[in-house]
């Protein structure tokens, strides 16, 4: 299916997932306005939000199935498999977050159904961010997401930590937005456009690769994105915000927000700045700093949530390696790692939400002692998550890490590969104590974990994630094919459009996929 984005009807079709989610989110907001009293209301709104996400996923699936491609260069919004696959990942992460929130919001008495509406709007922002083919769309998506997540981070208004998290996230997020906007302005100044594909063309045709204004703009863009993905040295906000926010929201921030930020970063760098070689090295050094600092600082954490926060910084470092590599292999590795990482992290935060009681801020690693005897399946799931984060063979985390290593080695970036390997060894020092506490230490006192409970839905979600981790770990073929095709699709677009602006539409995808 080829869509001519200059025609309104085709543009609407190309935006189908975003439109569906916008309309659905408005409708859910209306429902929430009338029904926001009881726990049951909250649950109803939650289910409606889930429904909205499913409908959106169906719309994205429809575009993907028909192999939607733009006629000529994309306008404002990209139309390729990369966008749709990332959309799915975002929707899946949002859906899992909604399900994991059901029990959590009731236990923590956060009975405002707007919680789910905000999640929907945040997801909408993320989709625009990841799919935008124009710096303005990316920025608008980022702001929509940020405003929603600022509120979500401070949603527990009785908790001072949550207030601190929200304020910190807001201040530093605004700061980062400033950098990003300034970068966009400079890039516009250098190239007279904000469209990613056109920036790429301008850089090539006008020979702007060494233009100071463009490079300054690129630098500021990297700083802005660096804040959003929590890359060292722009990570200072992350531990406090992750620690203070409600646990499912933390999971959402660590997975969905990070996924979209990485997708947008990757698109911006490879489409707009393909002609500028400098960013490969800059991102490479950011990756090294992030991997080293994230892993080393995580070693000293005793609080599980904070440890996971630093671990997510470390994982941002691994993902930055994939970005630094670039090319088809980099895109494929990025996608596979994001899938593995999102599944693992969501399951881990879901489990953490179940283990923590009122004010789970205080769950220390030692508090997990003896959990395996009381809750064997829950401990098993947590152990698999930790091993997947560690990148142990047999789990999806290993496949993701391996893909990044392959991509880095093929691109000749052996130094990055070696740092990744060595920091992974360090990460064993903080993932293993979780397993050790659960399995190898005795319960601190009788019935210490008697009230640890994971709701039926939460259990199903966690079980599905863990099963997915193990299946992808042993049999990743399908996922790899998908990632490979998607990565190639991302780069097919700009290359042809640069050669001859009205490029011939690519052949429709075989329906057998």
């Amino acid at each position: 299916m080829s869509l001519d984005l200059s025609l309104p009807a085709d543009l609407l079709r190309a935006l189908a997932p975003e439109l569906v989610l916008t309309v659905a989110a408005m409708a859910v907001l209306l429902v929430a306005a009338w029904r926001h009293k009881t726990a049951r209301d909250s649950r109803v709104v939650g289910w409606l939000a889930l429904l909205a996400l499913v409908a959106t996923a169906a719309a994205a699936g429809w575009l993907w199935w028909n192999g939607a491609r733009p006629v000529g260069a994309p306008v404002m919004v990209a139309l390729d498999d990369f966008r749709l696959v990332v959309d799915w990942l975002l929707l899946a992460a949002a859906g899992l977050t909604v399900v994991l929130s059901f029990d959590y919001v009731e236990r923590e008495r956060l009975l405002a159904p707007e919680y789910y509406v905000l999640l929907l709007f945040a997801t909408l922002g993320l989709m625009f961010m990841a799919g935008g083919d124009d710096l303005m769309v990316v920025f608008l998506g980022l702001e929509l997401m940020s405003v929603s997540v600022y509120v979500l981070a401070g949603f527990n208004r009785r908790s001072p930590a949550a207030a601190e998290a929200a304020l910190k996230y807001f201040l530093l997020g605004a700061f980062a937005s400033g950098f990003l906007l300034y970068g966009i302005a400079l890039v516009y100044g250098a190239t007279a456009t904000t469209s990613l594909t056109q920036i790429g063309t301008q850089v090539r045709t006008l020979g702007l690769a060494n233009s100071p204004m463009l490079l300054a703009g690129l630098g500021l863009l990297l700083v802005g994105f660096g804040f959003k993905v929590a890359a060292v040295p722009f990570h200072m906000w992350a531990p406090d915000v992750y620690d203070g926010a409600p646990t499912p929201v933390t999971g959402y921030m660590a997975t969905a927000v990070k996924t979209a930020a990485f997708a947008a970063l990757y698109r911006v760098l490879t489409e707009a700045f393909a002609g500028v070689a400098a960013w490969h090295d800059i991102v490479g050094w950011l990756a090294v700093a992030t991997m080293v600092a994230g892993n080393v600082v995580a070693l000293t954490q005793r609080n599980v949530k904070r440890m996971l926060a630093y671990s997510s910084i470390a994982h941002a470092g691994y993902l930055l390696v994939a970005v630094a590599v670039g090319g088809n292999a980099g895109a494929g590795a990025l996608l596979v790692y994001l899938v593995a990482y999102a599944l693992t992290t969501l399951a881990a935060f879901g489990l953490l939400a179940a283990i923590g009681r009122d004010g789970e801020r205080e769950v220390r690693i030692d508090d997990l002692s003896g959990l395996a005897q009381r809750r064997p399946w829950l401990s098993f799931a947590m152990a698999v998550c930790m091993l997947s984060l560690l990148g142990f063979p047999g789990t999806a985390g290993f496949i993701g890490k391996w893909y990044i290593l392959v991509a880095a080695a093929d691109a000749g970036r052996l130094f990055l590969a070696v740092v990744l390997v060595l920091t992974s060894v360090v990460s064993a020092g903080y993932y293993l104590p979780v397993i050790m506490a659960m399995y190898m230490k005795p319960e601190p006192f009788e019935q210490a974990h008697a009230d640890v409970r994971l709701g039926r839905l939460g259990a199903a979600v966690v079980a599905a994630s863990v099963a997915g981790l193990l299946v992808f770990g042993v049999r990743p073929n399908r996922l790899l094919d998908l990632a490979k095709a998607t990565g190639e699709g991302l780069h097919a677009g700009p290359a042809t459009s640069a050669a001859a602006p009205p490029s011939p539409p690519p052949p429709p995808a075989p329906s057998g996929r």
Partner: protein, 502 residues
């Protein structure tokens, strides 16, 4: 049918059985595990007869696994791996039986982990695809980590994490080396494949890169062996592990290191392995291992730690045998690998039995118990003598072959290594004397029960092997000879060729 599927069945069956044990009622766990491991042993026994010594790699199965990266599921055995597989399937049922009374908590988990561990070990020995090998290599790490950490002694947490981090560090470097290796060979041949046969036949001389790659492989394996400066995890892991854990650790896991050298590090990088500087370093470290391991064992008050250090010495012989690269020395190295599994396994069982009776592993806690537990004392004597390498026991065959083989390449090294045999007598015999002879001066020892029927069942197969291999090692030697000969020839040939083309 059997030829094609047996190795896969040997990998898959313990996994299935392990899941079954986990789900079954607790009181059946050990019996089910015993039955499962006996079935595993039964499955592997026909390998002994159906194996053709001159046949190269046999019982192969090759199926695509992750096509995007050229990864296959390829398994097969040759003369080098055959006895490692058989040793594994032989020791596991004994370990299960030997744990019947030792393991009293969380039995299901223990036995199911033991079975999963079996899968990993068999997988390591039969993998002929480097990716598969790496996966299996890591896979056996987790069950062992849990076995030490959950059912171990007082300092088990420390021992478990030390064991894990040491091995994990080495193996991740190996992973990076595998990746680079496949990429280099892939660029040269246009085929990106992790298949061992493809890599070993197309690797050629890699110049200085070969040193780095060999270093990464060698570090991973040297940690596992363990060679002298990397051995510090071993005493901790051995002492803290439960009996079955120690038996498997000494009997099989350590052999993975030397097997890795035989299968991967040396054949893939022959020019580096035979480089004079590398040769000197390895031989020197092996000798230090033999002498230092023996001397440290001599002063250990803890019987289990004594045996742990004696392992360092024995594995030194294996390394020496591999690097001397003569037919006798390589055959001898393989024999020491088998014998060490049997003798040291038996010693760990015996120490475990003593510990169960007396709740102490200290040598000085015993004394004169030959009068109280005559059977146990007799068995301990036989096993100790075999570990020292007395003629007519299995220990003699292996070490003698190694010494004869090494003498041709490095006479001085053979001389020093020979003192290792004497040192072995110097640490084991006094310990033996202090434990079972001497006067019976501790009242706690007066009422010790002698071996039970179950314990006899565990020990008899081991004693039988000790005597059989000691008197008539020919059936084993015949099966490992062609593979050893081929190993020596190709390594020497390729080393010369690769050095010339560098």
């Amino acid at each position: 049918m059997y030829r094609q599927w047996v190795l896969t069945a040997l990998i898959a069956w313990p996994l299935i059985a392990g899941a079954g044990v986990l789900l079954a009622p607790t009181r059946w766990a050990k019996h089910l595990a015993l039955v499962a491991s006996l079935i595993e042993f039964g499955l592997s026994v026909p390998l002994w007869w159906m194996f053709t010594p001159e046949g190269g790699v046999q019982f192969m199965l090759d199926a695509p696994w992750i096509q995007n990266w050229g990864i296959h599921y390829t398994v097969g055995v040759d003369g080098i791996s055959l006895f490692m597989v058989l040793l594994t399937t032989f020791l596991v049922p004994l370990s299960v039986l030997g744990s019947y009374s030792y393991i009293t908590t969380r039995e299901r988990g223990f036995y199911s982990l033991l079975l999963v561990l079996t899968s990993g070990m068999i997988g390591v020995f039969v993998s002929l695809d480097l990716f598969l090998f790496y996966v299996m290599w890591e896979l056996m790490l987790i069950p062992m980590y849990f076995i030490i950490g959950v059912w171990g002694g007082e300092r088990r947490l420390y021992a478990a994490i030390k064991f894990f981090i040491y091995t994990f560090f080495g193996s991740l470097l190996m992973l990076a080396a595998i990746l680079v290796l496949v990429r280099v060979v892939g660029q040269r041949t246009g085929v990106y494949s992790f298949a061992y046969s493809h890599l070993v036949s197309h690797i050629g001389g890699l110049g200085s890169l070969a040193f780095w790659l060999f270093g990464a492989f060698a570090l991973a394996f040297a940690i596992k062996v363990p060679m002298f400066p990397f051995h510090t995890w071993l005493p901790d892991a051995h002492v803290e592990a439960p009996t079955a854990g120690s038996v498997i650790l000494a009997g099989i896991l350590l052999k993975m290191g030397t097997y890795g050298f035989l299968r991967f590090a040396v054949p893939l990088f022959p020019a580096v392995a035979l480089h004079p500087a590398v040769q000197q370093i390895v031989v020197l470290l092996a000798l230090i291992g033999i002498v230092y391991g023996g001397l440290v064992a001599m002063v250990q008050p803890d019987f289990k730690k004594l045996i742990a250090y004696s392992s360092v010495a024995h594995l030194g012989f294996v390394m020496l045998g591999i690097w001397a690269l003569t037919l006798q020395s390589v055959q001898g190295a393989l024999m020491v690998m088998i014998n060490h599994g049997i003798s040291t396994g038996a010693l760990f069982f015996l120490v475990g039995m003593l510990y169960e009776r007396r709740h102490s592993r200290l040598i000085e806690a015993f004394g004169g118990i030959a009068r109280v537990v005559p059977m146990l004392a007799a068995v301990l004597t036989i096993v100790s003598l075999s570990s020292i390498g007395l003629p007519a026991t299995n220990g003699f065959v292996g070490e003698f072959l190694v010494l004869v083989g090494v003498f041709r390449s490095y006479p001085l090294a053979a001389l020093i290594a020979a003192t290792g045999v004497i040192i072995a007598a110097m640490y084991l015999l006094p310990a033996l004397q202090r434990v079972i002879y001497n006067p019976l001066d501790k009242s706690a020892n007066e009422k010790l029960p002698d071996l039970s029927l179950r314990e006899i069942t565990v020990l008899v197969p081991l004693i039988a092997c000790i005597l059989w291999i000691g008197v008539y090692p020919q059936p084993i030697l015949r099966r490992i000879e062609p593979a050893s000969r081929q190993f020596v020839q190709t390594v020497r040939l390729n080393a010369a060729a690769f050095t010339a083309t560098r």
